[in-house]
């Protein structure tokens, strides 16, 4: 990443350190607050045009960069790199979108604080109060020790951070993930009950695929001709029947994505955010 940033052709977006970094942070904060304040004062119809224009310029940049002819453009990281005159600006554009993402995370935290703050101040249910209290305690601890861990790496900060992140958060993630195993069994039981022709086909196919995955299945059909062995049939189901269906779906999805992207890029959706057309 460091190598890529050094190639940044826009001097304004080159990384700075020390007091310059603080100045940049403060300046960008003020600039963004002012920008948001100005956008808030603009009439809604005009604001929509600004959004459409910004979307169009962003989309046009990436479309041109993708379609224009390319020539050799070696970089320190990749000697075989190819590009056109817009390629060096892809990284700065990406940095802009990352900044927007940073701001939206701030918006998300404000939203969470408002929802849970109301529950703390005016609890309608005892359970909701404690859930919201747990949220604030966890958010505060994670933020505090996350920053402390980054700023001052010592044994105390390191161990607290590991307890919170590895000990608590990752373990909770793993717990949720492990639940899926039981849910799959429960869903499969309902889906595979032989009530209709489709369910019967599903059951038979699943049985063959599962049998083909395990050594027992392969052992059971080891005396059969190669084409009739369960692992061969399993392979055919997965690599031919399943792959063909998945690719057909993928074609449709690709074209669908292109259509939605075009509608948004060209501002063809007449309403704002999927309004009814007037």
């Amino acid at each position: 990443m460091g190598v890529v940033l050094q190639q940044n052709p826009i001097p304004f977006l080159k990384p700075v350190l020390g007091n310059g970094l603080l100045l940049y942070l403060f300046g960008s904060l003020v600039a963004m607050v002012m920008l948001i304040a100005i956008l808030q004062t603009v009439p809604k119809q005009f604001r929509r045009r600004i959004i459409l224009l910004t979307t169009f310029i962003g989309g046009l940049f990436y479309a041109l960069e993708f379609f224009l002819p390319v020539s050799s453009m070696p970089t320190p990281a990749n000697a075989n790199n190819k590009g056109n005159f817009l390629t060096p600006y892809v990284v700065p554009f990406g940095v802009i979108t990352q900044i927007v993402v940073g701001w939206t995370i701030g918006l998300g935290i404000i939203n969470l604080t408002m929802v849970h703050g109301k529950r703390l101040l005016k609890p309608k249910q005892q359970e909701a109060f404690w859930n919201s209290a747990a949220f604030f305690i966890c958010m505060f601890l994670m933020t505090w020790f996350g920053i402390a861990y980054e700023l001052q790496k010592n044994a105390f900060n390191d161990s607290i951070y590991k307890i919170l992140f590895v000990g608590a958060l990752q373990s909770l993630d793993a717990t949720m993930f492990s639940i899926i195993a039981f849910y799959i069994v429960s869903a499969a039981y309902r889906a595979f009950r032989v009530r209709t022709l489709e369910a019967s086909l599903l059951l038979a196919t699943a049985f063959i695929v599962m049998l083909g995955q395990i050594a027992l299945g392969q052992w059971l059909t080891q005396t059969f001709p190669s084409a009739l062995r369960v692992e061969t049939i399993r392979g055919w189901i997965l690599d031919v029947a399943n792959a063909a269906a998945t690719r057909a779906i993928a074609f449709g999805l690709g074209i669908g994505s292109l259509a939605v992207a075009l509608r948004i890029w060209l501002g063809l959706e007449r309403g704002s955010y999927f309004d009814k057309e007037s």
Binding site: V101, M114, M176, A191, G252, S257, L262, R270, F274, E277
Partner: protein, 263 residues
């Protein structure tokens, strides 16, 4: 950086022109698209929630673009959710919309407000019901499951891109007795939804959904344009299969040259 191959340089502009042309055509005359049963069930699910007097849960998926910027899939999911809200507004149903991607929060809030406004019920918009939860996969799964249990949702609409959490949502909905309608572009998760949900829309039906539901000319034209593009792709696939088969016989170098154009 990836750049357009010769085939992409021809096909993508061609498809774009077809789709835009059909959108413009649809604004002048009515176009037909076939019935999608899973989408007809949305009204049934809304009715069920009304009868039971319990809220609905609508998600726009659990995908986030790590490079920055909003992906197309949650936006399409949001357009379906907008229809659901417009359909449920006359009955004053409450809808809870948990948000995964913080970039989607402001867009979702505005779309929900617009949907209620379009239905003539702006007072139904409750900012607390459009909640950003987290952008950690299993934390989101836990939070949505918790909401489903606590609020005892009557209908669950799972649209968007999902990963392993799809099964958690679908089974939790089953446990609380919610009618469930799912639609995803994640081909790996479609089987799980089919096993656990009441209705599933698959593949590009997901993109056809908002057109089918809203009957807006722009979206109808877009769907017809997509179908024409798919027919062209199908034709290329058939011709390609034949050519590769001929090429395998040997001695036909022009076939190899032609096929390479599409690689």
């Amino acid at each position: 950086m990836e750049h357009a191959t010769p085939a992409a340089q021809v096909l993508l502009p061609l498809f774009s022109i077809i789709i835009v042309a059909m959108i413009l055509t649809a604004r002048r005359r009515n176009l037909y698209i076939r019935r999608i049963h899973g989408l007809n069930a949305i009204d049934e699910a809304v009715g069920r929630a009304t009868e039971m007097g319990r809220p609905m849960l609508c998600t726009t998926g659990a995908s986030v673009n790590t490079q920055g910027g909003i992906e197309i899939v949650p936006l399409q999911a949001l357009s379906i959710v907008s229809y659901i809200l417009r359909a449920s507004a006359p009955f004053s149903n409450r809808a809870i919309i948990p948000v995964y991607d913080p970039q989607m929060l402001a867009v979702t809030q505005e779309a929900v407000q617009n949907a209620y406004l379009a239905a003539g019920k702006p007072e139904l918009y409750n900012p607390d019901d459009v909640r950003f939860l987290t952008n950690r996969q299993f934390a989101y799964a836990a939070a949505v499951s918790g909401i489903m249990h606590r609020e005892k949702v009557a209908a669950s609409f799972l649209f968007g891109y999902f990963y392993a959490e799809a099964m958690i949502f679908a089974e939790t909905g089953q446990q609380v007795g919610a009618i469930q309608i799912a639609g995803t572009t994640a081909t790996t998760q479609i089987p799980f939804f089919i096993a656990a949900c009441d209705y599933v829309i698959i593949g590009d039906e997901f993109y056809a959904a908002s057109a089918y539901l809203s009957r807006e000319p722009t979206q109808l034209g877009s769907i017809v344009g997509q179908d024409i593009c798919k027919a062209i792709l199908l034709g290329i696939a058939v011709i390609g299969t034949l050519l590769v088969s001929i090429g395998n016989l040997g001695g036909y170098t022009w076939v190899d040259t032609f096929v390479k154009l599409f690689k």
